[in-house]
Amino acid sequence: MLTFRKSDLQTMIDHCTAGLPNEACGMLAGKAGKVEKIYCMKNAKPGPDFYEMDAEEQFRVMKDIRDAGLEMVGMFHSHPTGQAYPSSVDVEKAYWPGTQLPNYPDAVYVIISFMDRAKPVARGFSIEEGKVDEVRLSMP
């Protein structure tokens, strides 16, 4: 389970909406499955079907997270026209190239679908060795 505030979800939705029609992305920092900070980030390879974090920004954000004594509990990206489920590209890119070893085994991949633009849908997933499992997103 990944817990965050309603306002955090709105922050992610706003960032992804601003990025439409392209995909948008960001990182979630926190502790023990609880999100404490959202990083809205740049899509370095923007397309309606692809995202890649800017390498420099990714490095800087990961350092910022460590320095704050937090962990990277997850990341988020949008599917402007696809459903809120990891695509084959998402799964492939979650693994070290040429393997099925997850790059960030403890991170939750949050995907926000804009199939219905008026009602974006967010779901969370863990991508582990060879399998995708849904992780419940909780907003108390």
Partner: protein, 105 residues
């Protein structure tokens, strides 16, 4: 000469579970060989035909080697190397080699 290398989680099986190792090298190419000598299999995971794999970012201290001198980026005693897998993906509806090439242009 000692250089610290942070090993990312998916490669820690190769480094016997160690998250940080030390080695000696004058540049990234030598570093790949030095890692391979101590931890067989590491070079192939990190590079292909002598080039660092796409979607793998290597930093010397805080500098991305892509913006320094790539595989020839010089190393010195006390440097700290981070190996960071890129975070990427997509809905994949249109994604293929062609659309990636288009983006590069």
């Amino acid at each position: 000469m000692s250089i610290k290398v942070r090993i990312p989680t998916p490669l820690q099986k190769l480094s016997n579970g160690k998250a940080e190792v030390e080695c000696s090298a004058k540049n990234i190419t030598e570093l790949l060989d030095a890692l391979e000598k101590d931890y067989p299999g590491m070079k192939e995971r990190l590079s292909e035909g002598g080039k660092v794999r796409r979607f793998i970012n290597i930093y010397v201290n805080e500098e991305d080697i892509r913006f320094v001198n790539k595989e020839e980026t010089a190393l010195k005693d006390g440097d700290s190397i981070s190996i960071v897998p890129a975070i990427a993906g997509g809905c994949g509806l249109l994604w293929n080699a062609e659309s990636e090439n288009r983006r590069k242009r």
